[in-house]
């Protein structure tokens, strides 16, 4: 018998702008102990389906159909009855582990609350059980963590606490809503491993809601593909990935960039001229003063967001910059553009240094140096039509144009980036995320710049849109001989678009190599761990793949020993301020000094 049986569930929201049907008549079931994946792009209603089942729908939502759990119809329970089931037999983990934990409660109190509510356990027995679960989700120093507050833990650790809390009452069903989306790839890999393990040991069924085909391939037995509130396809994971029947599923799989299968989109334009770099970045450092509460007046220490990064960029070349959150990749981009002045080091554009130029003298360079941002909607002024946004750089650099000429230029650029010119008078909120990102690209391109920095430019987009935007960037590169710095945390995307790739770790470069070299012949342990952590959208490969795991969490950049995590021999020798050398190992392949991977793995195991 199915554990959870959903029949003809529909969810409708009543908004000031009319009724919105978020979920339309969906039916599915979850068997005990299995992992069901619900995949879909944003707005497909995948989260709302489960919110409705758990009675957590927003006030303006109404439901139809039945959700049968163990003889109860979950849609028609009173809040009290619901509370008895929620957290006890069915529990949930959410995307953002910081907002899902109460900030002012110690970990032990939050966890004990669940036990008190459902099992009536208090005091030492509750505490013992909490400790047991924290150990089981492999939180280091669990005893100490019990007394800590959520903000003292890292993102990965918080998600582990969430999982421990969800598992406290041995639920029969765990609903995981994008559990790893907000986490770095290496942490994601560990959390997913943990969930698989718990599923096997405890026999808990998991409903995994995600947009990431790679994660689904790794975890799930059965998959439901959701689109615009409906299921378009369902079946065993193997079948969905290897013999998809619905066009939408096929499209999703095709659009998903794969780290093991590059060149899925349009081919890259080769770099022809490597004689003279157009952009030279030398030993750039950006330090932010951070106040610590120490002593009477506190003390200021530098947070080394970027700590000595150098690279060259040639005409019509793309350099990919990858790294996990907090590695300084966005700060580096802004330092190159002089939006944040670098603390030290030099940036030269076409042989001329641009660091420290007064704002007025920097303006002529801005024509050539442009940036595309991560969040397409936030990067456009909501009160301006998209045409006005696109035309803004024109007004600065070609003030002589009449408004008619400007409009023509804008329309011509809109055509190039694949926007219908009839949308010229529209506002950003009327467009989709992908269209808004095209507006952002059009604005960056309007003055025909020679360098565009894409700061996580496709990260907020759905995979299908992502693929289109990447193709667009490649087309623009071919047509205008554009150079790009492509910043992303997503290694598969970076591989699609970059000629060379620079890996950052806590503000320092650890490896710089040709795109194929870095994936085929990674030398630095961090690069290797990073690459092996990326999930591949293919269940056959995913379930057999071995991962390189360097134990421990990403350390804080304020920790002085953090940057020597891969050179522990120096750390052991007491040389805490040693700066690892960036050595050339091959043509176009540099690697930072490090201990051999085997040593690192062994050492941590002790």
């Amino acid at each position: 018998m199915a554990l959870l049986d959903v029949k003809n569930l529909s969810v409708t929201f009543d908004t000031p702008d009319g009724q919105i049907e978020a979920v339309k008549n969906v039916s599915f079931h979850i068997e005990p102990g299995e992992c069901l994946g619900i995949v879909g792009e944003s707005g497909s209603g995948k989260s709302q389906t489960f919110m409705a089942a758990m009675g957590l729908l927003a006030e303006n939502g109404t439901t139809g159909g039945t959700v049968d759990y163990d003889g109860h119809d979950l849609l028609h329970l009173t809040p009290e009855e619901h509370n008895r089931i929620r957290g006890d037999q069915i529990s949930m983990i959410f995307q953002d582990p910081l907002t899902a934990l109460t900030p002012h409660m110690r970990i032990v109190d939050q966890m004990a609350e669940v036990l008190h509510e459902h099992k009536g356990l208090t005091g030492a027995r509750a505490r013992a059980l909490c400790l047991e679960w924290l150990t089981r989700v492999r939180i280091p120093e669990a005893e100490r963590r019990l007394r800590q507050f959520p903000h003292e833990l890292s993102g990965g650790m918080r998600q582990r606490v969430m999982i421990a809390m969800a598992m406290l009452c041995n639920p029969r069903l765990l609903i995981a809503d994008e559990p790893t989306t907000a986490l770095d790839v290496t942490v994601q890999a560990e959390i997913l491993d943990l969930m698989v393990e718990l599923q096997k040991q405890e026999g808990t069924a998991i409903a995994l809601i995600t947009h990431d085909m790679g994660v689904v391939a790794r975890m799930c037995d059965r998959i439901q593909v959701m689109r615009l509130g409906e299921f378009v396809e369902q079946g065993p994971a193997d079948e969905i990935f290897h013999a998809p029947k619905h066009d939408y599923t096929r499209m999703l799989l095709r659009a998903m960039p794969r780290i093991d299968e590059p060149n899925k989109g349009k081919p890259l334009v080769p770099v022809t001229d490597r004689s003279e770099p157009i952009l030279k970045v030398e030993d750039v450092k950006v330090h932010f003063p951070v106040r610590l509460d120490q002593g009477l007046f506190g003390k200021t220490v530098p947070l080394k967001a970027v700590d000595g990064v150098s690279f060259d960029l040639y005409a019509s070349e793309t350099i990919g910059i990858v790294g996990e959150s907090g590695c300084g990749k966005s700060t580096l981009a802004r330092a190159v553009l002089q939006l944040i002045p670098p603390t030290l080091g030099s940036v030269s554009w076409l042989g001329k240094p641009i660091v420290g130029l007064p704002r007025k003298q920097m303006i002529p360079y801005r024509k050539d140096l442009q940036i595309v941002f991560q969040d397409p909607l936030a990067s456009l002024n909501p009160r301006m039509t998209i045409a006005a946004s696109i035309a803004e750089p024109l007004r600065t650099f070609q003030p002589g144009l009449t408004s008619r000429q400007r409009k023509l230029e804008v329309a011509a650029m809109m055509e190039k980036v694949g926007l219908d010119q009839r949308m010229i008078n529209r506002y950003p909120h009327e467009l989709s995320g992908g269209q808004n990102q095209r507006v952002g690209i059009a604005r960056a391109m309007i003055n025909r710049p020679r360098l565009i920095i894409c700061d996580e430019a496709v990260s907020a987009l759905d995979v299908s849109i992502q693929a289109q935007v990447i193709d667009l960037l490649k087309d623009l590169q071919r047509e205008f001989g554009l150079s790009m710095i492509f910043i992303s945390h997503d290694l598969s995307v970076v591989r699609e678009i970059s000629h060379r790739i620079l890996v950052l770790y806590l503000g320092r470069a650890v490896e710089l190599a040709d795109r194929d070299a870095i994936y085929g012949d990674a030398r630095h342990p961090y690069t290797r761990a990073l690459i092996s952590a990326v999930p591949v959208p293919d269940p056959r490969i995913e379930k057999t793949r071995q991962r390189i795991k360097i134990p421990g969490e990403l350390p804080s950049p304020l920790d002085p020993g953090a940057s020597l995590r891969f050179l522990t021999s120096k750390l052991a020798a007491g040389d805490r301020n040693y700066v690892p050398e960036f050595r050339k190992v091959d043509v176009q392949h540099w690697v930072a000094e490090h201990d051999p991977l085997e040593d690192l793995l062994e050492q941590k195991a002790v």
Binding site: S379, P382, R383, E392, Q421, M423, H429
Partner: protein
């Protein structure tokens, strides 16, 4: 596209231009829905706010058209009835005193119109001063930041620390009591709160990506404030200003109630209410009732409009 004489050569190939121009002509028909239009739609669906707006408009129209209906001017004294106001001065259609007489025998209908006009003008001008000074001050302080921000905001803190009623009363006592002084007095204090609110909003806008995009496009700082910051502040400013109008009316009424506001022969709702309250022992209830009704209608409808605007301009806040 027909090439008109004297037209500048276009920067892009002509054949392609023709096609683009065609599309642009088509685009003219497709008008985007701006956030303002969206908000207007939401506002009109809010029944309470629309009713309040209608009421307020009715009051305004009444003050504009009323003088044509009135049979007496606001200065004339009805000598025939002034001896027995409690007996003969009540509201009546035959005598032409629709709202009755005031305590010295003037027509209350005309007086109420005059008072409502004064109060509305005081409220609107006070709010306008707050909007203009407060918005500019707050936006510059927030956007420039650093020591400028510190200096500007500490100044505001000091001014807010002085009880505003004192300032206004002092101004009224020291200088001649006139409309001008009243506006100066109210204007001096009304922008302080507004500048704080605007500064806070500016700070949160300043780090948005579209501001960074404008900086990357080489746009100067004052243009950024004008083109990107101010239009995005307008929602908050409009809401706050609408709620400020009744507040200003209340302040003025309180001052007039104390006897320090506008002077005879001018009057305001506060002054009329004050007089009406003092004569209520003689049984002339209409002298209090009429100005009070107009006062409440104006204030309550302004509050409802302000609330409606807030809901319409910031749907997420609900």
């Amino acid at each position: 596209m027909v090439t008109r004489p004297g037209q500048k050569p276009e920067t892009i190939g002509t054949i392609r231009n023709e096609r683009i121009v065609e599309k642009l002509v088509e685009a003219e028909k497709v008008k985007g829905r701006s956030l303002w239009q969206d908000a207007a739609g939401r506002f009109t669906r809010n029944r309470a706010a629309v009713a309040a707006l209608v009421t307020l408009l009715a009051v305004v129209i009444f003050t504009l058209l009323g003088p044509f209906i009135a049979q007496w001017s606001n200065e004339e004294i009805d000598w025939a009835r002034m001896g027995d106001i409690a007996g003969q001065g009540g509201p009546s259609i035959e005598t032409g005193h629709y709202f009755g007489l005031d305590e010295v025998g003037r027509d209350l209908f005309a007086r109420t119109i005059q008072a409502t006009q004064t109060s509305l003008i005081v409220g609107v001008i006070g709010a306008l001063m707050a909007v203009i000074i407060g918005t500019l001050y707050g936006a510059i302080s927030g956007f420039v930041g650093g020591w400028v921000d510190n200096l500007m905001m500490r100044t505001v803190d000091i001014l807010i620390a002085v009880p505003y009623m004192f300032i206004i009363i002092l101004l009224m006592v020291m200088f001649e009591r006139s409309f001008l002084m009243l506006f100066v007095g109210i204007g001096v204090v009304s922008w302080l709160e507004m500048s704080r609110i605007v500064r806070g909003q500016t700070l949160s806008l300043k780090h948005r990506e579209f501001i960074e995009a404008a900086q990357a496009a080489g746009v100067g700082w004052f243009t950024i404030v004008r083109r990107h910051i101010l239009p995005n502040l307008m929602g908050v400013v409009v809401v706050y200003a609408t709620l400020l109008v009744p507040q200003m009316i209340l302040v003025e009424s309180f001052i007039s109630f104390l006897g320090l506001g506008v002077q005879e022969p001018n009057t305001s709702l506060g002054a009329l209410i004050s007089k009406g309250a003092s004569t209520i022992i003689y049984g002339t209830i209409w002298q209090l009732a009429w100005p009070l009704v107009f006062f409440l209608l104006t204030i309550i409808s302004l509050f409802f409009i302000g609330d409606g605007l807030r809901d319409a301009l910031d749907p997420k806040e609900r």
